[in-house]
């Protein structure tokens, strides 16, 4: 066992435990915090994979912005006292979990067998591949993927306008 494997097991276990905690905690605040833990563990995995820029952006965007928004809304609506009936009933729940296990088996099968016959497996410089730098990502982003990049900015603009419209309308209603 070398250091990379130990770290992979550590981060992987933390992210899985965090993910399970997200769906099992009753209170949304604890779910949100478990999700933050999962995101951190994933940032660690990204570091292991040599994707430093993505790891930093993961923490900035997910942990620093998105989850704070979640917390903000949970606190604003004060959902703790409301206590939504947490989950669906027994039979349906069992059915959902069986479906989930089937999906997991399928995913593991794809990951282990199917991908072996594709170009990804054929490429396999795997461990020897150099770390991709911020420079590489920037270059790809502003040359080959310029159009998707611009489309992304349009999506963000649309989201911005959408949120303003939603909030404006509901504030007019309340007045």
């Amino acid at each position: 066992m070398n250091a990379e494997q130990i770290l992979f097991i550590l981060f992987g276990a933390v992210s899985l435990i965090g993910a399970v905690a997200v769906i099992s905690f009753r209170h949304p605040i604890y779910s949100a915090l478990s999700l933050v833990v999962t995101f951190f563990a994933q940032a660690g995995l990204f570091l292991l994979l040599g994707a430093h820029f993505v790891a930093a952006v993961q923490v900035i965007v997910y942990a620093g912005a998105i989850m704070v928004l979640f917390l903000f809304v949970i606190m604003l609506l004060n959902l703790g006292t409301l206590s939504v009936k947490g989950a669906i009933g027994g039979k349906l729940k069992g059915f959902a979990i069986i479906l989930g296990i089937l999906l997991a088996i399928e995913g593991i099968y794809i990951a282990t067998n199917v991908l072996n016959n594709t170009a990804i497996a054929a490429a396999q410089p795997a461990t020897a591949a150099p770390n991709t730098t911020t420079y590489d990502i920037g270059e790809l982003l502003f040359s080959k993927y310029l159009l998707p990049f611009e489309v992304t900015s349009l999506i963000l603009l649309a989201a911005l306008i959408g949120v303003i419209v939603l909030v404006k309308r509901s504030s007019n209603d309340s007045i």
């Binding site: 605040i29 915090l33 933050v36 430093h52 820029f53 930093a56 952006v57 923490v59 900035i60 942990a63 620093g64 912005a65 704070v68 928004l69 917390l71 903000f72 606190m75 604003l76 730098t133 911020t134």
Partner: protein
């Protein structure tokens, strides 16, 4: 960290970590003393001067008092998060310093050791990432306290931090463009020895925006709405006592110190000062460069205290207006102007002048728009017909 033997690497890292962590904690104590004495000086009174020479042992007396206070956990709180919150405020403040280069390098026993704990490639992103985590402790502490005023403080704080983080991130993009590196050491080195080459002149509007946003991120006085005494008792730490309160308190000062150190690195030339850092050979130059960095940080910290007693607290809507309508346009313009002028002329002088002019224009336009847009105050004081509407809007 070039080609050091493993043992030297480990030992030097441990020494550096111990040094900088303790310096930070001692810095907090020094700041507590300085804040009270300087405040006293600015208000024409004495401040604490009884414990030790000129009251210099006052922070230790405070610390002992905090330690011996009863550590009260109220019944109505959410216990796990209530205990966790102070740590979640303190830790981000403490670990940010790891990537800040606090001097050039020092040669000990033939090994050149750079004065920085972790020299990572994406240093500035690391700082942004860790800074963005500081809000969790505040928000969770507020929520876990299960107290109306705490919750209001936490909500205010999270909205404020998200808003000003944008400015914080955008303000440094100009710097990154001209340095073309995310490496803090490279940014500090690229600025050179002379003050007129430093980034704060080239990116003057961005520098002001960055500093302002940093005041907001540290919850310092013009922006301390999260703990506004008159409105919210003590805001998010109302329910805290003893060492847990002290941790919130220490975290605030650590944020200030680390923030000043980052500003010095990014905008004020790091450890450079008129080439003074190069004299004195391989050992003393390291010490001198650290001294210069330390002095710059200390001066910047003085500004923090100075501003505290100069500007009154913002109202909440003014805070949001200021962040979104002034700082954000200024930083965005700064990015566009810096990029365009740098591509066209490639001269730092032109970029600097362009930035200053553009910043001025944007501020005037926004101020003008706000004055035209400002609604007449609903409850006009009839005794005083000259209510300064325009002034309200600008503030």
């Amino acid at each position: 960290m070039e080609n050091l033997p493993f043992s030297v690497l480990i030992i030097s890292s441990i020494v550096k970590i111990l040094f900088i962590a303790h310096l930070l904690i001692i810095g907090v104590m020094a700041m507590i003393w300085a804040e009270r004495r300087v405040s006293g000086w600015m208000q024409d009174r004495l401040g604490p001067n009884r414990v030790g020479f000129q009251g210099i042992l006052q922070p230790i007396a405070d610390g002992i008092k905090f330690l011996f206070k009863e550590d009260l956990i109220p019944d109505h709180v959410d216990k796990p998060l209530y205990v966790l919150a102070p740590a979640m405020v303190l830790i981000p403040a403490l670990v940010t310093i790891a990537v800040v280069p606090f001097g050039s390098s020092i040669t000990v026993l033939g090994h050149e050791i750079s004065l920085q704990v972790a020299d990572i490639n994406i240093g500035i992103l690391y700082i942004l990432a860790i800074t963005s985590l500081g809000v969790y402790g505040v928000v969770l502490g507020a929520w876990a306290s299960n107290n109306k005023y705490s919750l209001l403080g936490g909500l205010r704080s999270s909205a404020q931090m998200i808003s000003y983080e944008l400015t914080l991130g955008l303000a440094i993009i100009g710097v990154l463009m001209l340095t073309s590196s995310l490496h803090l050491r490279a940014i500090a080195e690229a600025q050179g020895a002379y003050p007129w080459h430093w980034n704060f002149l080239i990116h003057f509007p961005a520098f002001l925006a960055f500093t302002t946003a940093m005041f907001a991120e540290t919850n310092r006085l013009p922006f301390d709405l999260a703990e506004a005494e008159q409105e919210l008792v003590a805001g998010y730490h109302t329910e805290y006592s003893s060492m847990k309160f002290a941790m919130f308190f220490m975290a605030e000062y650590m944020h200030m110190i680390v923030g000043s150190a980052v500003t010095v690195t990014l905008f004020l030339g790091g450890w450079h000062f008129f080439g003074l850092e190069n004299i004195g050979g391989p050992v003393w130059s390291g010490v001198i460069s650290f001294g210069i960095f330390f002095a710059k940080t200390a001066i910047f910290l003085f500004v923090f205290i100075w501003v505290r007693w100069t500007l009154p607290r913002f109202r909440y809507d003014q805070l949001m207006n200021f962040g979104w309508k002034f700082l954000l346009p200024v930083t965005l313009t700064s990015i566009v102007v810096t990029g365009t002028l740098w591509i066209i002329t490639g001269s730092r002088l032109v970029v600097g002048i362009g930035n200053a002019v553009a910043g001025f224009i944007v501020v005037s336009i926004v101020a003008g728009l706000l004055v035209m847009d400002a609604p007449k105050p609903a409850m006009q004081d009839s005794d005083n017909p000259l209510t300064p509407t325009a002034l309200n809007a600008i503030e």
